[in-house]
């Protein structure tokens, strides 16, 4: 394929010039902004913080502080638990949602379902957090309904702890869970299910023997994306956690504001490593799983 443009009169030099002109600007831009900024962050993680300011002397005290104080282990643990819970709920809700959408016949309803699931993506997480504040407040809709139905005697506290954060985070991330599953399900050849039915498989068998295994790549992509986004969430735990939900993104902002940049840089590094290790690890796991699936065929 490469000779397509190399074959023009300008030849190989023109081609490499064109490539530089096309890809150079984005490459340099990314390096100048993202890579330089990340390097400065990494360097700051090894600086000394006097308690009022940062001094550019090389130490590893911020790392030592982070890894020896059990408070930070607790934060990481709470964050992982929150991300796992959120991902699990998103998958349990998201899979049937995606499946149901593929079963809709009427085009108008398909559009309605798409808008319902994906349009919240267009509103910021701040708007959605405020929405949950209204719905889950002491005098809010859910408590009003619970009281009217005599399910509770006094308003329940739903906000400002892990419950509220999880409810809102699932709401923020569900579109990201549904989308990969939906696109894989849409690509599955319906003829396979029909063939299974013709051969006498029940609908349940057809689902578990055909649709479910074929949708596995989508499920995996959805799980990975949802987990990573949950680990990185800042707005939702900040606005709905009421200080009871401590996660790394909150600490990073707090420490930058308190001028303890080395500690913030260490927390940022830990967050990146956690997220990238999860992605890499699950990629490897998935590749092995896919290989065994191939073997069985």
């Amino acid at each position: 394929m490469s000779p397509t443009y190399a074959a023009t009169p300008r030849g190989a030099r023109g081609r490499s010039l064109a490539l530089t002109g096309l890809l150079g600007p984005a490459t340099v831009f990314l390096a100048a902004v993202l890579l330089v900024a990340l390097c400065i962050l990494l360097v700051n993680s090894a600086y000394h913080f006097t308690g009022t300011q940062v001094q550019p002397t090389l130490t590893f005290e911020a790392y030592r502080h982070f890894f020896t104080d059990p408070f930070y282990a607790g934060v990481v643990w709470q964050e992982i638990r929150l991300a796992v819970t959120t991902t699990a709920i998103c998958l349990v809700v998201g899979y049937p949602t995606a499946y149901a959408i593929t079963k809709i016949r009427r085009p108008g309803w398909v559009i309605a379902a798409y808008i319902l699931i994906f349009s919240p993506l267009l509103t910021s997480s701040i708007v959605r957090a405020y929405g949950w504040l209204v719905v889950l407040a002491r005098g809010g809709l859910v408590n009003w309904a619970l009281l009217r139905l005599h399910l509770v005697a006094a308003p329940v506290r739903l906000l400002f702890d892990v419950t509220g954060v999880t409810v809102a985070l699932v709401h923020v991330l569900l579109p990201f869970t549904v989308f990969p599953i939906l696109s894989v399900l849409l690509r599955t050849d319906p003829a396979l299910r029909e063939a299974a039915a013709d051969l006498g498989a029940t609908r349940l068998q057809g689902f578990f023997r055909i649709t479910w295994p074929l949708s596995f790549p989508g499920l995996y992509a959805a799980a990975q994306l949802t987990f990573v986004l949950a680990m990185n969430a800042y707005v939702t735990p900040q606005l709905l956690g009421g200080g009871r939900v401590q996660v790394l993104p909150l600490l990073i902002y707090e420490n930058i504001s308190d001028l303890d940049w080395p500690l913030a840089a260490v927390e940022a590094t830990v967050l990146i490593v956690l997220v990238w290790a999860t992605m890499l690890g699950s990629n490897l796991l998935f590749r092995r799983r896919l290989a065994t699936l191939e073997d069985r065929r």
């Binding site: 490459t27 808008i115 809010g140 569900l174 990185n232 800042y234 940049w261």
Partner: protein, 271 residues
């Protein structure tokens, strides 16, 4: 949903989908309702209707400045991401070269860097180079976040449109620049529109990065709202949120009308 009218599986799926729909819409719907709530604490049910929170929106200077900044930054970041991203996408889609996959992964890097980490890093960079608290700094940061969307969407759309017409134009004597604007751009119009929409929304809703690189009193709208939500929590926020939801609905309608002719028809015919 299914051929049989009372198929229990189909009914269950419908009910489930309906419940999910209610869950997805509930917070947005109640934001809209709460914006007319006379009670400062957002109690339910409403004791009457008022428009005073909408009037209040106009009186909070932070919101006015924020709205203006968000528009400027959104447009600047979209333009920058679109130019850099389309050039890069063209190079990735139309040329074969060594390490192409590596370069592509590199260009998509902003997706896998947590925004909060990027924000902290950008803050440390900007205070050194004097970009802290500037609109230029915001435009650069937001453009970087939009870039991967532009590149991946535009690359995909370039790959689905063949290069035959480009070659025909070149054979007929058009230079590469003319070919690009007269042939390539019109054929990837949908991809470019969607890219621009993604880039703009990314900037418009951005919180985590902006938080670090804006100055107090000179914020973007989401940051102004974020601060207001932490300090006041009265329905003024509902009013401005309702206005933003209306704006988002408008964006959806624009997107649907653009995509309807192509993508949607394909999706529906699949099932």
């Amino acid at each position: 949903m299914s051929a049989a009218p009372r198929d229990p599986v189909a009914v269950a799926l419908w009910v489930f989908l309906g419940a999910v729909g209610v869950y997805m819409l509930a917070p947005l719907a109640f934001v809209a309702i709460d914006s007319f709530n006379p009670s400062t604490y957002g109690t339910f049910p409403l004791s009457g209707l008022t428009l005073r929170w909408y009037q209040n929106v106009l009186q909070v200077p932070d919101f006015r400045i924020g709205l203006q900044n968000s528009f400027l930054v959104g447009i600047g970041a979209t333009a920058l991401a679109l130019v850099l991203g389309t050039l890069a996408a063209y190079g990735l889609a139309r040329y074969r070269f060594r390490h192409r996959d590596l370069l592509r992964s590199y260009l998509l890097l902003p997706i896998i860097v947590p925004a909060i980490v990027f924000g902290a890093a950008l803050f440390l960079l900007y205070i050194r180079v004097g970009l802290y608290g500037t609109l230029t700094g915001l435009v650069l940061g937001h453009a970087l976040l939009g870039l991967p969307f532009v590149i991946s969407i535009t690359t995909a759309s370039l790959q689905t449109t063949g290069r035959e017409y480009e070659e025909a134009a070149m054979d007929l004597g058009a230079n590469p620049l003319v070919t690009f604007f007269a042939v390539t751009v019109p054929s990837i119009r949908t991809g470019l529109t969607v890219s621009a929409l993604f880039a703009f929304v990314t900037s418009w809703d951005q919180v985590e990065v902006s938080l670090f690189i804006t100055r107090p009193r000179n914020n973007t709208l989401p940051i102004a709202m974020f601060n207001y939500e932490q300090n006041y929590q009265d329905p003024t926020l509902a009013a401005i949120s309702a206005l933003l939801i209306a704006f988002a609905v408008l964006l959806v309608l624009v997107a649907v009308s653009i995509l309807k002719t192509q993508e949607y028809r394909r999706l529906v015919q699949r099932e």
